[in-house]
């Protein structure tokens, strides 16, 4: 039995690592989405975290932990820098501005050869990231999300998400709350980028583009943005799906697309909404409120 387990881990440890890593990113986005920030900046944040941490370990000789922290911090700084102007934008404008940020970071990474290696990227990165690092990071982030949700901060964020006029009128500084979540999201994504860089021996600008950012959003949305376990479920599902569908190389892409569409259509509150009996009525109410907010603001 133990032999079987060790073989299982040897064969699938990378999948487990990827599930955890994607969950971590998923929680970064979960925080952003919890205040209605449909952010495509993930790729940019992860790139900042990854390149910075690799620079720290490989050029400056930092130990692993401070390097990851430095990467996360740089991404958080990036979030703070773009947050102030970008957070004034609403809805799709916000999404597109964050996308522009990711692309600008990617193009800089492509051209700044001396630090990033350009398109060739950086290889032979020491592998420091272990499964327990990732598990610990996910656990910490879940703890933070869980604790915040039950505090006055979480109440304020829930209000910001549903009706920011109400939130303001109750004394919530909507801008600062959204900014702090955006920065936290940047920090987590930066840390994930740093951990990813030290997991796969290699990073290149292609790892941090639009696809990365969109996938990251898919995790919490598929899993459910209202449930704490949503990002975890969504990330595991999305990571395992291409492997589970490997029996058919031909139809893999088509089946993956079809499954995602089916989830969205039949569980519009995300997979976790299965566990909420009252979801249907609630969804409709929430959408109306959101619409009312938009009207009041325009």
């Amino acid at each position: 039995m133990s032999a079987w387990i060790s073989q299982f881990f040897a064969s699938y440890s990378n999948i487990i690592d990827l599930c955890l890593l994607n969950s971590l990113v998923g929680y970064g986005l979960f925080l952003a989405l919890s205040a209605n920030m449909f952010s495509l900046a993930t790729g940019g944040f992860m790139a900042l975290g990854a390149y910075c941490s690799v620079y720290c370990t490989m050029e400056l000789g930092f130990p692993f932990a401070p390097a990851v922290f430095a990467g996360a911090l740089l991404a958080a700084l990036g979030a703070a820098a773009i947050g102030a102007p970008v957070l004034r934008l609403r809805g799709d404008y916000f999404m597109l501005a964050t996308f522009a940020f990711t692309e600008v970071i990617r193009v800089i990474a492509l051209n700044w050869d001396s630090v990033t290696g350009g398109a060739i990227g950086i290889f032979s990165i020491p592998r420091h990231t272990e499964t327990w690092h990732l598990a610990l990071a996910v656990a910490v982030v879940i703890y933070v999300a869980y604790t915040l949700r039950r505090s006055y901060f979480g109440r304020a964020i829930a209000a910001v998400k549903q009706d920011d006029v109400v939130a303001q009128s109750m004394g919530v500084n909507v801008f600062m709350h959204r900014l702090s979540l955006f920065i936290a999201s940047g920090f987590i994504c930066g840390a994930a980028g740093a951990l990813a860089a030290h997991l796969n021996y290699f990073i290149g600008p292609g790892d941090f583009g639009l696809v990365r950012s969109v996938d990251a959003l898919t995790y919490p949305i598929l899993g459910g943005v209202n449930a704490l376990a949503g990002p975890l479920i969504g990330a595991i599902f999305t990571t395992l799906l291409p492997e589970a569908l490997r029996f058919s190389n031909q139809l893999r892409e088509i089946l993956m697309g079809a499954l995602v569409v089916a989830i969205v259509l039949y569980l519009p509150g995300g997979a976790m909404s299965v566990f909420k009996l009252r979801w249907f009525g609630v969804r409709a109410g929430e959408t109306k409120l959101a619409a009312a907010t938009e009207q009041a603001q325009s």
Partner: protein, 294 residues
Amino acid sequence: MSTFLQQLVNGISLGSTYAVFAMGCTLIFGVLNIVNMAQGAFFMGGAYFGLEAARLGLPAPLALAVALAGGGLLGMLSELVIFRTLRARGGHRWMGLVASLALARMMIGLAQEIFGTQVQRYPASDLMQISWEIADVRIQLLQVVLLLVSLLLMALLAFVLQRSSIGRAIRTVAFSEDVARIVGVPVGRTILATFFLAGALAGAAGMLLGNLFNVVSPFMGEQMLVKGLTVIILGGLGNVPGAVAGGFLLGLIEVFSVAYVSSSFRDAIGFGLIFVILLVKPNGLFSGFEERRA
């Protein structure tokens, strides 16, 4: 000077395909306030519809009609399968984004299955080899034809939106769905028609670009989607004349940033500009053209 003029020709020619594609994206946004991420897949689909038609020996105008119809049908499909269902269920708007991306992914997979992953090209014709050299500037017949077709499509869309009954219905729904319902506009059918128009424009753009640059591939829509989003920010979300102007503008910006800055920074300049525009003038450069949606 001749280099400058040549770059101008390059930019206008590239910009015309952007403009046609972006008109569709912005139309959907104007009516439904959503971004349909599957537009890029309709663009790709239209290119293949046109390609198959051309291979069957249909003359180019008929092949274009097939591309238009094919793209339009794909557009309607996305409305019927995804957006209508989501509206009925009251799903969050994020869900529409995620679902339309997944739909695009399915369609790319399907195209790979049917047509293979390799790049294909439209059948070569001698007519298309004709080009003139005026004051050291190369202008191909193909470029001229395609520019004219683009302008025709723009005029056609303007006509449909401004003069036809379906156009009036679309504008009413864009103004307010409730108002449309009160005055007796069939909202569901009008939205379906909007998706058809948007898909048809994407499909036509696919065939135009496929012809102009000799490329038809399952992945051609991905980059175009990004360009389309960029253009509709430049022009203002939901602003159709803005999309046309933005399309040409983006074509020129790209070409001239290659010409006078560096090709390595072409996209950084484009996206940097977008970032700045969003912060300074979030309703687009041409927001004076049209009153913003309430």
